[in-house]
Symmetry: C2
Subunit: 345 residues, 2 copies
DNA sequence: TTGAAAGCGCTAACAA
DNA sequence: TTGTTAGCGCTTTCAA
């Protein structure tokens, strides 16, 4: 049933040349290795004729690389990560790399297991959104000389290429925007995740509110996504306890989404009457009524920077390179929800 | 810098046994091959001690398989596909397979290229959402004995395992529901994609409307996503031309999304006054005001069926199996938007 | 019950 | 300018 594909050796035999010759021509090293024009042409023609495809596994075994890049994120089906992944896939494809997506679930053990397997599969590089507790595994990769680029989050106490969002600035901008629109009692709703990107956002909010002489109102919800109804109750209580609130800043887009739903359930006018802004954009914010303002992460730029670093590191694998920490700014997208309200103010 | 990992041979030398022995023990074939208990134990202990990880590439080269499954969809960042992919990833992980996600962009050439590369990489199976024009490539894989399971769409004139949605029934159910709620002038908005899943949905709508003695109103929009503004205009004209419409059935979730936005722009009361239902659910439908009814695809079940077939085919690679076409039913999720309206009727 | 050795298909150092 | 050949690390047949 399975017709065996011809191997290099088969080809060499048919053409009556050595496998070396075929290999060199195949890899475009014909000229460099001073193989005659005619021979090159003859080989190339034959390769084309039989539409020869080399066995990539054999090549990997020999060369030690695989032209595969791993993209490890918390959840590949998360909108933000999947969009970034999509662009990474495209850039990789153009450079003849493939991308293995995988979900860490923010779990260190699972992540370490994945890393082990991929290492044994000779993947050429890792782009990782690091869960807590994988510092050693990452250092190990670095020791090994495997390119690693961190994304979205840092690991403290380790020198490593990273592409990050300037969370503090973003949070500050969003808060400032609300203040400029005349909001005085701005709530910040976040999750109790002890990770620097969330802490920076909180810090940005607090500093800005304080600077403006306003009071801070902070609600911290449990991270556990299974306890959505708990969160709903907490939001409801929070709103009830602070009737003076005129606006809400959600620290991440899935909070905004569930938050909007909750607000709507509490009182269908609430969403229109409160100033609302979200950290992280969502494609549904512009279809909502009112449309929801957001501080958007620069998805395309992030993907490009990740791949720029990755391809560079792969190429210059044996040179010592300066570690780069790329801090990108997002963009404040002002829609209806964060504009001055006349109904309530 | 790179400390070389120990190979099977190294281990054999250290233990003063043959590589065969180590290999057998490593693969749990010790007993079967009648290696003595003590030896097995000695080898196992050493393997554990040095935390030996075999080189998976070498193994692949030798065995001809890779424990990698490819999941090819139109766009990996599409909500529906990424959710299915996420579950497939999980199931695979439990069976010690990894998943290579890749986007076809519904383009035959790109898809064929991907298939070629993956074939040379010895992937163990393909789950494919087939774009038009890849029938031959798929048949080729089948010839090769590589497991292929189609998802979401069929390829006409080819016997192949597939997991599909029962589009006709789904469309019928959604239409019936609107009729039961008292809607009389139901529009069907679709895209001009000549693929059977879309045609079945259209057919389901038409048959049901006809059966109920109602008039059909069909708007077909161009597929090209770049021409969103065109679509908006067409929707607007369509609504204007048929003031008697009391409800709209969108044939796919991204149509619903852009459609809702358009409706809202035309007249902010329109969304509340029309009956609305969407083929395909979206997580944002339940946050919208009003919440949007939908015929939801059974994401988890689909992923499970895909993997059931895939793992089965991989395992029984050399047996002739009956082709299975799994047709799944979705679920009608009734929310506010499709309930009887009192404001307009 | 264990070991020797032949490959899987490719690359590249070395020889001719 | 081209060819010979030794591996890459593993599995598995055959021999001992």
């Amino acid at each position: 049933m399975k017709k065996k594909r011809p191997s290099l050796r088969d080809i060499a035999e048919v053409l009556n040349v050595s496998t070396t010759t075929v290999s060199f021509v195949l890899n475009g090293k014909g000229e460099e290795k001073k193989i005659s024009k005619q021979l090159i042409e003859r080989v190339e023609n034959y390769l084309k004729e039989i539409d020869y495809k080399p066995n990539l596994i054999a090549r990997s075994l020999r060369t030690g690389n695989s032209h595969i890049i791993v993209f490890m994120v918390e959840d590949v089906s998360n909108h933000f990560f999947s969009k970034v992944g999509r662009i990474i896939e495209d850039i990789s494809y153009k450079h003849d790399y493939r991308v293995l997506f995988c979900s860490t679930e923010n779990d260190a053990k699972r992540t370490r297991e994945h890393i082990e397997v991929f290492k044994e599969r000779q993947v050429d590089g890792f782009i990782i959104v690091p869960p807590p507790g994988i510092k050693e595994a990452v250092e190990d990769l670095q020791q090994n000389g495997t390119p690693v680029v961190l994304f979205d989050r840092k690991i403290e106490g380790i020198e490593i290429d990273s592409v990050l969002l300037n969370n503090y600035e973003g949070s500050r901008n969003a808060t400032l925007h609300l203040i400029e629109q005349g909001f005085k009692n701005i709530a910040f709703i976040t999750i109790d995740l002890n990770q620097n990107q969330m802490l920076d956002r909180l810090a940005g909010y607090r500093a800005t509110v304080k600077e403006a002489g306003l009071t801070e109102y902070i609600l911290t919800l449990p991270y556990d996504p299974d306890r959505a109804s708990d969160s709903r109750k907490k939001i409801q209580e929070f709103i009830a306890a602070h009737p003076q609130l005129d606006s809400i800043f959600f620290a991440t887009n899935y909070l905004s989404q569930s938050g909007l739903k909750t607000l709507h359930q509490i009182d269908s006018n609430l969403v229109s009457n409160l100033g609302i802004i979200s950290f992280d954009d969502s494609y549904f914010f512009e279809m909502y009524a009112p449309t929801i303002s957001a501080y958007a992460q620069p998805i395309e730029l992030m993907a490009k920077e990740l791949m720029r670093l990755m391809l560079d590191r792969i190429q210059k694998k044996n040179e010592a390179l300066n570690v780069e920490e790329v801090n990108l700014d997002g963009e404040l997208i002002i829609r209806e929800s964060s504009l001055k309200k006349y109904t309530r103010l």
